[in-house]
């Protein structure tokens, strides 16, 4: 069947079950947007205020739904505006297909207007990049790109179409094909054949798992780490079954939030720089550490030399390159978390570790903050929110103090409930991600928790929120400063507060109103409660500006590069 190349592109998206696209048009991608005009009933396009917002929204959509996000942008600045969003998705292994267009073939490499080598720029921050020069390859490349983004360790891919490839007079052969057939055709088939794989998920090495089962059986003080891989692999049920069967405490990384119920009696809370005392002490004292889908980043394994130095470390990951990258490991298993944990669970006998648990839980898994008589504290804000909003609300955060407080305080129960930029630490991620999540999960209440610094970064997405009427409730932890940076200046830089004051910030209430949302400033619990009730009842975008103290700190805290129990704050 001969169709226009742009039709083939959009049909390929439909093949993948795509119904939502986030993006921003421009000169070179006009052909695709022109075709999109005829597809409005099947492909819902959301025009953001900035390409970065579109990238984060597609990312948030992917994280919340588990599907592949799709994001469009034009060449040049449109494409480079995506890059922070692409990197954010890459560091947190979120599957997003980014589609950009470039100039026509004869202008390539001539520094034409809005031309940039985006496939070159995006190379280090994507699983793969594709420059499409031959229109006939469109179906093949799109099918491959989606497969690469979604499978194995997920991540972003970027497809750059030359403008001439999408020209209206270009006709190509296109045959509709069901998704499960894709792997049997074209380059995907060649790729899977080459690496000797069947179409089914490759099986982890049973011998490796049996060895781990033995190690578990011989362990008296086991500790599990729930990493982002449990969330991405949707292996939360298998993880929980294993933890309960071997009665092992579970420390949760930032990216692991939602992989294991935060309120579970075996959960020790967050681990790492701002980890709980229970988690960090457990890590230091355990004799067997099983890390699932976690890459031992410098925020978890602060000092790789002393990390879990009394334990045998076992690393379960889908990505071979993560093994032995940051800490030395004694054993590893390569495979999909779900399958590995399922097999492991079958091979181990039920165990009990009462003494070990008593030891760990003699340390607090949560910080006890004091209430202040005349001021809202971050804990009061979070506790008030937690009590009023539905327990399964999706929470998107930005980066900094509010992010740590949120993760410490809330219990996340299912994958996709917490959306946060853990790896790349992108300020300005939250609002876009929250919008994407709400579009993907319209039945869930979606909260966006941010700080005054972060909110200023991509706050213009309030325009998108208002235009498409995407009801997200934003809570701004307004301390008139860049809180986390100020905390470091307070503790490490002798209170020299260089360039962290934000007391000239905009009036967020007025700003929200200017965008057509409602806003309210709150200074005590009562006002906050009223605002949350009003926001839930109103059912549209709402901004709550929560005034908190400038010198609030995140506790506990271990200094970078220090042994994990060297708390500088508890």
């Amino acid at each position: 069947m001969k169709v226009k190349s742009t039709v083939a592109i959009l049909e390929c998206l439909l093949e993948q079950g795509v119904d939502t696209i986030f993006g921003y048009p421009g000169g070179t991608i006009l052909n695709i947007y022109d075709e999109l005009y005829d597809y409005q009933d099947r492909l819902h396009h959301i025009l953001t205020a900035h390409e970065q917002g579109a990238a984060h929204a597609a990312d948030g959509y992917a994280r919340a739904t588990g599907k592949v996000g799709v994001c469009f942008a034009t060449s040049g600045p449109g494409a480079t505006n995506l890059t922070t969003g692409i990197a954010t998705a890459y560091y947190d292994s979120s599957p997003v297909v980014f589609i950009t267009c470039n100039v026509t073939e004869n202008l390539l490499g001539k520094d034409a207007f809005q031309e940039v080598d985006i496939t070159g720029i995006a190379m280090p921050i994507t699983k793969a990049t594709y420059l499409v020069r031959d229109p006939e390859t469109i179906p093949d490349i799109l099918r491959e790109a989606f497969a690469v983004a979604a499978t194995g360790r997920p991540g972003p891919v970027l497809i750059d179409f030359l403008k001439n490839v999408t020209a209206p007079d270009v006709l190509i052969d296109y045959e509709p094909m069901e998704r499960k057939e894709h792997i049997k055709h074209g380059r995907l088939q060649a790729l899977t054949h080459r690496i000797g794989w069947d179409i089914k998920t490759p099986e982890p090495n049973h011998e490796d798992i049996r060895k781990l089962a033995e190690m578990v059986q011989n362990s008296e003080k086991p500790l599990l780490i729930c990493g982002g891989g449990v969330v991405r692999g949707r292996a939360h049920e298998q993880f929980r079954a294993l933890a309960e069967k071997i009665d092992a405490p579970v420390a949760i990384t930032v990216m692991g939030g939602g992989g294991f119920p935060g309120g579970h009696e075996l959960a020790t809370g967050m681990i790492g720089m701002h980890g709980s005392q229970a988690s960090n002490m457990a890590c230091d004292n355990c004799d067997l550490l099983i890390a699932v889908g976690c890459r031992f980043s410098d925020r978890v394994a602060l000092d790789p030399e002393t990390f879990a130095s009394n334990a045998k470390i076992v690393h379960i990951d889908i990505d071979r390159a993560e093994i032995g990258k940051n800490v030395r490991t004694d054993h590893h298993i390569i495979g999909d978390a779900k399958r590995v944990l399922e097999l492991l669970c079958e091979m181990v006998e039920p165990m009990e570790h009462t003494r070990w648990k008593n030891f760990i839980f003699s340390y607090p898994k949560r910080v006890a903050y004091e209430d202040k008589p005349d001021q809202l504290t971050p804990q009061q804000v979070l506790e008030t929110i937690r009590q009023i909003v539905p327990g399964d609300s999706i929470v998107a955060t930005d980066v900094g103090q509010h992010q740590m407080w949120t993760i410490q305080h809330f219990n996340f129960d299912y994958p996709g409930q917490l959306l946060t930029s853990g790896g790349f630490g992108t300020m300005g991620f939250g609002l876009g991600a929250a919008l994407g999540a709400k579009v993907g999960c319209p039945d869930k209440t979606v909260l966006h928790i941010t700080g005054d610094g972060c909110f200023r970064m991509n706050g213009q997405e309030m325009a998108t929120e208002s235009h498409y009427d995407i009801p997200v409730i934003t809570f701004v932890f307004d301390n008139r400063t860049l809180g986390m940076v100020r905390q470091w200046q307070n503790l490490i830089y002798h209170k020299r507060f260089s360039q962290t004051d934000l007391d000239f910030a905009p009036d967020f209430v007025k700003l929200a109103e200017a965008y057509g949302l409602k806003g309210k400033r709150v200074t005590n619990v009562q006002e906050l409660e009223d605002a949350i009730h009003e926001a839930l009842e109103w059912g549209h975008g709402y901004v709550v500006d929560c005034m908190i103290d400038t010198d609030e700190m995140v506790r506990p805290m271990v200094g970078g590069g220090q042994p994990i129990t060297n708390f500088m704050l508890i």
Partner: protein, 184 residues
Amino acid sequence: MNSEKKAYTLSILVEDTPGVLSQVARLFSRKGYNIESICAGPTRSPGTTRISVVAICDEAEIHQLATQLSKLLLVISVDVLEGEESIQRELCLIKVKADTREVREGIIQIINVFRANIVDFGTDSLVIAAVGTSDKIRAMMKLLEDYGILETVNTGLVALQRGEKTIHDQNKLKDEYNYGKNLH
């Protein structure tokens, strides 16, 4: 693991497409490893290129590089080759000044010892092609310096495993690498 830094040779089989060399080179430069030598040439199967890279690092680092390389979709296979188990050769073209008969004879004596060849004769210069290990070539170059080297060009090292092993062999490590390709 051995933490001593030494020269390792990586053999990388890749799909021959624009950008694949950039992807490979990037992994080295990102970590700040300087590539001692790299060469890429076609193989017997069309569409695939074999890249040989020599980098100075320790054992853990070279294996980290190998796994990172294996993750790239365009990479078909990766092998880490060590000195004793592999045949390593490089080719060097050396242009030397040779304007008198005595000089030419002196040079010819040297290249006979090293079993090198003269590939071009000019009235006042010679081009010599020498094949061997890096040490051998460096030794010859040293002797030729006295005659005035005009320019040299070196391919960098290529290597094959000794005996029957090839880059196409599968083993557990390679299976694990393939997981790293993250495609199933």
